[in-house]
């Protein structure tokens, strides 16, 4: 669409919006009353052939965007540090890229503003390793997903992360028809092996489904993984290969001179990197802007998932959804489904809503009813009473609804890995290879880059005692009796396993850090019994007071010093 045409179309709907071009992008400015209108104007401006992207700077009337959450810590531990490659963002993208960079003998540092890795989108999703059946050829998402999915088993083996191909059913209440068969054939030809499963086959494998299911699009290559475990595993392997990770480190500003980033200012001092990789998720357009290289806009899109007690894990096997007859073409997410996670919890969701907030993880009223109503059509045995937890995540969507993986256009020494939303977990291993290649190309212009001959792709996880046979468990306890002291009764986690996780190469001694690594608090009591015990183990091991043990963020303690103690301590 020519800019004049677009201007006319947008003017008609939103007279106050100014449409322009900037750096080869469509640039929208002005103020609107409604968030959905702003998002709609963004979508209207997409024309991949004519423009590099959409820069949607329309403001929401009366809304002031909250500032990015910056850690309270301020120090100079990183001040003056020179690194070859600086990775911004400790999600699945950043950590997988960091690991790829350690294949070369360069210095690499990853900074993450939260107190742990995988704290945002990478820790707030259902963990599905997608087949890419819903994606069309031509998008980066599709290109990477069909190539990455078959490789996933190998990556997880190297990193010692559990991965199971559960298979996926997109169910229909109509019998098999030629159109579905054609669809499956077409998808298979495009690199995503797809078949149509009949009623009998489905009924054999899924005994709890509604009888209304007549057939399903089947993708046996769909799998599940713990998204935060994988993210952490990438980072741990990278660190054991020489990379560095700095948590609680936020980017405050980027100094650009001409077409080069000179330095990056953080709350821990100013870093001088040769190349910067932008893997900042929902903040990636902000980082791009700081680097004077913005060619896309992130519009956050949230959704909530609900997790059930693992008692009901027998009710479902496949990653499943019920395809409704009325398909809403405007929706840019598949509309959720039911997943049996790698830890055997049944998870339902997510729903979808646009939000102006980039890091608001609150659950909005009505989410539960909306989601359970939708998913119990497929699995009528779902019962609200069995829900033990829920979470909200935010997708870093661009208006093009595709990944933005590019070298800097105006600023040379930056590589963007942005707009990463579903299936970003699946595609991470392959995307990381391409992004790191771009960074190395750029780096090679200013230094000699060689292969890291001592790179070891293998990471070994600590023993998980409940998964061992009685004999193996017994042998380990004999060597280390703390493996025999059960701290978390819901998930059967021992003190020894918690101590192991405090001895890892990226240590996160918070209640949440332990919970995400070894699972105390993930069960049905949600930490009611074990949280104080975990706090005690952390404080004993780290030699600080219990009231200094933090929950999620390293600036927020869980408990306070007793007033009565004042006189004793």
């Amino acid at each position: 669409m020519k800019i004049k045409t677009l201007q006319r179309k947008i003017k008609k709907l939103y007279p106050s919006v100014v449409v322009d071009t900037k750096d080869g992008c469509v640039h929208l400015t002005g103020t609107l009353d409604n968030r959905d209108d702003i998002v709609n104007a963004g979508y209207m401006s997409v024309d991949k052939k004519r423009y590099l992207g959409v820069l949607n700077d329309i403001k929401l009337k009366g809304f002031e965007e909250p500032k990015i959450r910056i850690p309270k810590t301020n120090d100079t531990t990183l001040d003056g540090l020179r690194v070859d490659c600086l990775v911004i963002g400790g999600g699945i993208s950043g950590t997988s890229i960091l690991r790829e960079l350690t294949r070369y003998n360069i210095s690499a540092l990853l900074v993450e503003k939260e107190s742990d890795l995988a704290m945002q989108a990478s820790g707030r999703n259902d963990g599905e390793v997608h087949p890419g059946v819903d994606l069309n050829k031509g998008s980066k998402k599709q290109y990477y997903v069909v190539r990455s999915n078959p490789e996933f088993g190998n990556i997880c083996k190297e990193l010692d992360v559990d991965f199971v191909r559960r298979g996926q059913y997109a169910c229909f209440d109509k019998p098999i028809n030629p159109l579905l068969k054609l669809y499956a054939k077409f998808r298979s030809m495009n690199g995503c092996p797809t078949t149509v499963a009949n009623k009998k086959e489905i009924e054999e494998k899924e005994t709890h489904f509604t009888k209304k299911v007549k057939c399903a699009i089947s993708n046996p290559q769909s799998g599940v993984v713990s998204p935060y475990e994988l993210t952490i595993a990438f980072a741990e392997n990278a660190v054991s290969n020489g990379a560095k990770v700095s948590l609680d480190t936020a980017i405050l500003d980027i100094e650009v001179k001409g077409d080069k980033i000179i330095s990056v200012k953080t709350n821990k001092g100013t870093i001088c990197p040769k190349v910067v990789i932008n893997a900042a998720g929902c903040f990636s357009d902000k980082i791009a802007d700081m680097a004077n290289d913005r060619f896309f806009t992130i519009h956050p899109r949230s959704g909530t998932d609900f997790i059930f007690d693992n008692k009901i894990s027998g009710q479902i096997n496949h990653i499943s959804s019920f395809v409704s007859a009325k398909k809403n073409k405007k929706k840019h997410s598949k509309g959720g489904g039911i997943v049996k996670t790698i830890d055997n919890n049944v998870l339902i969701g997510p729903n979808v809503y646009e939000t102006p907030y980039r890091e608001d993880y609150s659950v909005v009223a009505g989410s539960l009813d909306e989601i359970i109503k939708k998913q119990e059509r497929l699995l009528p045995s779902l019962n609200k009473k069995d829900i033990i937890a829920y979470f909200t995540g935010t997708r870093a969507a661009t208006y093009e609804e595709d990944f933005y993986i590019n070298k800097g256009r105006k600023t040379k020494n930056i590589v963007h890995c942005a707009g990463i939303q579903s299936p970003g977990l699946t595609t991470a291993p392959l995307v990381a290879k391409d992004v790191s290649k771009m960074a190395i190309e750029e780096l090679s212009e200013v230094m000699k880059v060689e292969e890291n001959k001592s790179f070891n792709p293998i990471r070994k996880k600590d023993p998980i005692l409940r998964k061992l046979s009685s004999e193996e468990r017994n042998a380990l306890i004999k060597k280390n009796p703390s493996y025999g002291r059960i701290v978390c009764r819901c998930e059967q986690i021992s003190e020894g396993e918690i101590i192991d996780c405090l001895n890892r190469n990226i240590k996160v001694p918070t209640i949440n850090g332990i919970k995400r690594r070894v699972r105390p608090g993930m069960g049905r009591c949600q930490g009611g019994f074990c949280m104080p015990l975990v706090a005690k183990i952390i404080s004993d091991h780290e030699k600080f007071n219990i009231y200094d043990v933090k929950g999620k963020q390293s600036d927020y303690p869980v408990t306070f010093k007793s007033n009565k103690r004042e006189n004793h301590d």
């Binding site: 959450r69 380990l476 009764r489 019994f529 104080p532 927020y556 007033n563």
Partner: protein, 428 residues
Amino acid sequence: MIIQLPLNQIKERTMINYDTVVIGGGPAGLASAISAHNNGAKVFLIEREARLGGILKQCIHDGFGLLYFNKKLSGPEYAQNFIDKFNELKIENTTNSFVTKITKKDDQFLIEYVSEDGVKAVSSKTLILSTGCRERTSKQVFINGTKPYGVFSAGTAQYFTNILGVLPSKKCVILGSGDIGLIMARRLTLEGVKVFGVYEILPSPSGLTRNIHQCLYDYNIPLHLSHTITKLYGENRLEAVEIAQVDEKMQPIKGTEEKIECDALILSVGLLPENELAESLGVPLDPKTRGPIVNENYMTMVDGVFTCGNAMQVNDLVDYVSFTAEKAGQSAAKYKIKEQTYNNVEASKDFEYVLPQRLSKNIESENVDFYFRTKKIEAKVQVQLLCNDKVIYSKTYQHLKPPEMEKISIKSTDLMINGDFKLIMKRG
């Protein structure tokens, strides 16, 4: 290196056979073990925590033992009475030991557990599941908003305060007027924590009347009935809660919302009997009590498996826990495998539940204790037990309140009738 020794070999060398294995060393487990021992059984008790006494260890307030000991004791004192007795009798036990698996084979139970000494196994003729209960969590009451730290169940807050000596809050709001919530309102106030109030979604309190007076009114802590928390604020630590009044259907009333700044929300929103082990043995549960369906001896529907205390039903007084536990211990010790036939016991819809849910046609004990809870507050009602539409027992109550469990004792000779029993309520 891991030595691959088949488990059956380990077991053959180390496994000891008992008459009764008690799982859980809280007040129920202790009383049932003592009682089983005194009735001639060879008993073994398995406790998952480091010390015996269960939740009573952290209940440092008084009010325990009025029925059992005829005096007012603190939780640890109440427990210590049983622990001393238990130790005196030299009943075998293991602490810091977690049961991972129970299987039943040829009328024998094989119990596997994990301890600092490794993976162990014992076998027994009977089992007593005295596994207690756990607290309903914030996730189970679906509060919208963020999920910050600072939302504690009352028991967790109590553990931090009384066992670890740290405070969960500086200023807090309590949701739910269950007894632990009321106790914690007072406890935290005494520790210098500002307690803004106790908010209860129901139109009447959920805790004992004496606790409403002694824990709230005596300390000027307001109780807000028909109120609930509708939203949480704060991403990392709780910063505020939104409260609202609710209508008769317990739905928040628009326009009544109020925001209270606080750093903690303490939840006392109900207790759930812990019966995962029971379920793994195929023990059917009563959806109303959430504990196993039992007969007058507190034997579950799986022969040889007994239950008592909070695993069987949520008690408001520990004294009742001890009573049912002693009965379960005695029954387990005397247990003999035989065919039994049963009559069912049902409660009308005026009751939350009645227990036991079934009676042997041939009752061996002198009396049968029935426990029940009313669904609503009642005044001047007659509670009757019917069989074949004939009244076999009747008692008048001036007051009945849902938080207060009632016990009636009926002579077994009156209950040896063929037919199903029904507990009913007559008003006026």
